[in-house]
């Protein structure tokens, strides 16, 4: 009998490193980020960066941190070699930027790496040179305390990757943005940045407002609004303000979690929404740090570590929103508290305003501005990293901040179920359950004036704006369709011919691919489109108007919404094809809509930033009815 050959083999270390490198090191900017984080972890208070050829030729970092002794240096480039965590409990509360022991190992598999380093207690330093597939060399070296790292010829041995890099200008921008991001928040440290022989900036330790002015320019001086907010769980600090040229710029929007730059649409939205009515269709800037017990967050969800998972997204969202609001009010940017304004007109909304804790009664305040999306093309693709877990079930958010995380089941659970105020154990399930909400047991929806849907939740009730909610649903779907190139399109038996103006035609030509992905399937004859297929979401009877109206709105969006084309296109598509206010909905339609809404990545606001959901608590009703 002959044994068949084994197929599965353990990868040689080098190949494993190269694969990991694909995750960690995507472009020169990733190297810069990893190296600076290492310097910060080594308690450096002065860090210099020199790059050549947008980092493709050289990335050079100099720090005055702790340095490494000989054996640490030897180990530092080995995979999973880290001085930063020892046990798996450590992983639960990461205080450092690094924790995987992967960065240097990855870099050395795709570039030539040189490290010169010396600790305070050693009388001389060491130099390590490592090339892919070669044994590293180590020798004594005369240098000052601290570490210098040279990364040369990035990706020279991975031509596919090298080809994939963008122009020098683009790669440089990425590096500069990352370095700037870090320098803005570590204002107590010195940062120096050279592009070749040109100095880009050199900032000395200073206060944060001075750092911001130094790095972002004088203009921001007048309108820096300090943010300083604290509750039992977290501390929010930093600065916000109006962008100088706020009509177009959405630049300078930075959020940090424990000084780690993060990307989180919902949190950005929490800030931007505070600016409602203050900036006409424009973007504020913000440099905001959220300090939170590391145990409350999981940073180990993304290879670039710029996405994090929170135990309680909603609490964070509302805290942040509140922090910004308070700052704006304090500086007189908002003349009066908006909640009170609304109270006068809407009896429902008086309910929350009596309670001291304003976020209690609204899920999202009136908001504005579109959602920032760094990765707008696939809102759901990063769901697992960024699951926006609503936590309506939390009781008394004022007092009970134990990050009780419950699934949607709890949210819509029957009130006769035994209620526990205790923390529910967070299982992995409860995160993913977001995408499989089962509302089927929920018995009732009511439609109010063919405009709002009312439903009972475990702690009170919700009012959902049917149009805004459907817009949100279609918006995210449109982005997915464009990204995935789903091209789902309902073919038409009788092609529809529609004439367009010359400007519209040129826009159509530009957007042709995206429109096709959305499901608009057409031929172009001079000034006429012949539709042979249309998106499934276009309501029967609106086929020819759908695109015309979309184009009109799209043109006006393009003027002042500085987001991406696809974003705008998706938002217009959603707006024009969503259920309208005034449409009567059947029970199944309401149920379907709500199910879809809660599957959205950001269910709380429509693509234009208006809220989709209001929540009211039973206990607030009780207060109003003087039952307590």
């Amino acid at each position: 009998m002959q044994l068949s050959e084994n197929k599965i083999k353990i990868l040689p270390d080098f190949i494993a490193n190269q694969i990991a490198a694909g995750e960690v090191v995507q472009r020169p900017e990733s190297v810069v980020k990893e190296l600076i984080e290492n310097s910060l972890d080594a308690s450096a208070n002065s860090i210099a960066l020199v790059i050549r050829d947008a980092g493709k030729q050289l990335i050079h970092i100099v720090d005055n941190g702790e340095g490494m002794n000989r054996s640490d240096l030897e180990l530092s480039i080995k995979r999973h070699a880290t001085s930063k965590i020892r046990t798996s409990e450590d992983l639960e509360k990461i205080m450092t930027f690094g924790f995987r022991g992967e960065a240097l190992a990855s870099i050395t598999s795709v570039a030539i790496l040189e490290i010169r380093t010396r600790t305070a207690s050693d009388d001389h330093g060491w130099q390590l040179v490592s090339e892919p597939l070669k044994e590293a060399t180590l020798q004594p070296f005369n240098t000052v305390r601290g570490t210098q790292i040279f990364v040369r010829n990035l990706f020279y041995n991975v031509p596919a990757r090298r080809k994939f890099l963008k122009s020098n200008l683009t790669e440089f921008r990425h590096i500069a943005d990352t370095f700037l991001k870090i320098a803005l928040i570590h204002f107590d440290k010195r940062f120096t940045f050279y592009d070749g022989d040109n100095m880009i900036f050199d900032v000395k330790p200073e206060t944060q407002n001075v750092r911001i002015i130094n790095l972002l320019g004088d203009k921001s001086r007048e309108n820096l609004i300090p943010v300083d907010y604290q509750n039992e769980i977290l501390k929010i600090s930093g600065y916000t303000g109006f962008n100088e040229n706020s009509k177009v710029s959405r630049a300078n929007q930075y959020i940090y979690l424990n000084k780690r730059p993060i990307v989180n649409k919902a949190l950005s939205h929490a800030i931007i929404s505070s600016y409602e009515h203050l900036i006409e269709k424009a973007q504020p800037f913000f440099i905001i740090n959220i300090e939170i017990d590391p145990e409350q967050v999981d940073v180990n969800v993304h290879p670039q570590k710029n996405e994090v998972k929170f135990e309680d997204d909603r609490f964070l969202y509302s805290s942040l929103h509140k922090a910004i609001n308070e700052s704006l009010i304090r500086t007189g940017a908002i003349p009066q508290v908006k909640f009170d304004q609304q109270t006068a007109m809407n009896p429902f909304q008086t309910i929350g305003s009596n309670s001291s804790d304003k976020e209690n009664f609204m899920i999202v305040n009136k908001t504005t501005g579109e959602i920032i999306s760094q990765n707008p093309y696939s809102p759901s693709s990063n769901n697992k990293y960024n699951s926006y877990q609503p936590d309506f079930a939390r009781k008394e958010s004022g007092q009970n901040h134990n990050f009780d995380l419950r699934s949607m089941d709890a949210l819509f659970g029957r009130s006769d179920e035994p209620k526990s105020d205790k923390v529910t154990i967070e299982t992995n399930d409860s995160y993913t359950s977001n995408s499989s909400i089962d509302l089927s047991f929920h018995p009732e929806y009511w439609q109010l004036h063919n405009k709002y849907i009312i439903l009972q939740t475990q702690t009170g009730m919700m009012i959902i704006d049917q149009h805004a909610a459907h817009e949100r649903v279609l918006y995210e779907k449109a982005l997915i369709m464009m990204n995935k190139e789903m091209k789902q399109s309902q073919s038409l038996l009788f092609p529809l011919r529609v004439r367009f103006s010359a400007t519209q035609m040129s826009l159509i030509n530009e957007l042709k691919q995206d429109l096709d992905n959305l499901g608009f399937n057409f031929n172009i004859y001079d000034d006429t489109l012949e539709f042979i297929g249309i998106p499934l979401d276009v309501k029967a009877g609106k086929e020819d108007h759908s695109l015309t109206e979309m184009l009109e709105v799209f043109e006006s969006y393009e003027k002042f919404r500085p987001s991406t084309r696809r974003d705008n296109l998706a938002a217009t598509f959603a707006c024009k094809n969503a259920i309208k206010t005034g449409d009567k909905l059947t029970f199944d339609e309401m149920k379907g809509l709500i199910t879809l809404l809660f599957k959205c990545e950001m269910p709380y606001a429509c693509p234009h930033g208006r809220p989709t959901i209001l929540e009211f608590k039973l206990e607030d009703f009780d207060k109003q009815f003087k039952r307590t």
């Binding site: 759901s380 995408s435 499989s436 779907k477 789903m486 091209k487 789902q488 399109s489 309902q490 073919s491 038409l492 038996l493 009788f494 529809l496 499901g519 399937n521 297929g533 499934l536 029967a540 009877g541 609106k542 086929e543 020819d544 108007h545 379907g592 199910t595 879809l596 599957k599």
Partner: protein, 393 residues
Amino acid sequence: MIFTVSISEFSKLLQKTLPVIPPKSTLPVLEHLHFSVKNGKLQVIATDQEVTIMSVIFVATESEGEILVPGRRLNEIIRALGNEGEIKFEANLDNYEIILKTPSGRYVIKGIDPQEYLDIPELFEEDNKYEFTTFSDNSNPNKAFFAKADLMRIANKTTFAVSTDEYRPAMTGVLFQFRGNRIHSVATDSYRLVKYTINSAQLNFPEQLDVIIPARTVDLLKKLDNDVFMAFLERRGKITHVRFEIGGETLIVSRIINEKFPPYESVLPKDNPIRATVDYGAVLSAIKRAAIMANEKSKQVQFIFDDNQLTITGEDEDSGTSAKEQLACEFPYPRFEIGFNYKYIEDAFSHIEIQGIRDNQAILTFSEPTKPALLIPNGDSDDLVMLIMPVRI
């Protein structure tokens, strides 16, 4: 005005006329039924200005008169009275108060002055603005006689496929194509199309006439209790209205849709080379089950034919739900895959059954996954054809 009538007959009369009352009207008067009692008969009229229905029954009359009665309110009361016994209807023609009396009960509702009702010239022959044919006028070529079953079948097979797009009015109605002793009825919303043909042994139909009748009107013909005379009202040589006389007691007058129906004949595929023979009941229930899984985002079901087997799938990638149904079918071709909006394919299968369908089978035919699919009953006649446009994927 006072009369007595059996509750069951009265109720039947209301069920016939009420569907014409518009659901929400800017003209409150349209929410009323026009009652008039004369010569021992009660005549009830309802209109929404496009369709008008008039129905007559015999009643035991004490005194004659006319009044407008709030239709839905009256119906609620009558329905609550059950189906037995009689009711006495007394209307005070001075203050338009209506009193309904049963042996044990007394209900008062408010009517209005019949003078406020709209003119419906098409209905009343005396007011002769229209030149139109009476039913008995044999010399008029533009009239038709339908056995009730035939007309009911036309109504039941077609209206589901009409468009609700007010911008394309031609598709909001059913096309009646009279061709000597046959009549084709066609409806489409440009996503699907249905064509149903009936043949008549006698020459009962106009020789050559195309007319589009609003779907709402055709819907009223789904339940008939008698054979039907159909005639057309002309004004300056142009047909403006259609008129159905159902037995001796009910009359429906409706405007027609004066538009060009899309050239459907040219888009009906002549010979789709790929043919699958399926059990339509089984397919229908499989579609329904697959649709539950598909209905949220994609609205789409997938038909995969391979090796005498049909697989129907529906999935919702996001929630990870999916459905897969496998059925036997006759399919001697290489693998073929096509996607549909589940609603359209479900509609087609739920209307495919006709008399004489063989072995509960229907035949789906295709040429390409992006070209129209046809669904026909298995049998010798080509009376019923459904066309469904696929979803490109």
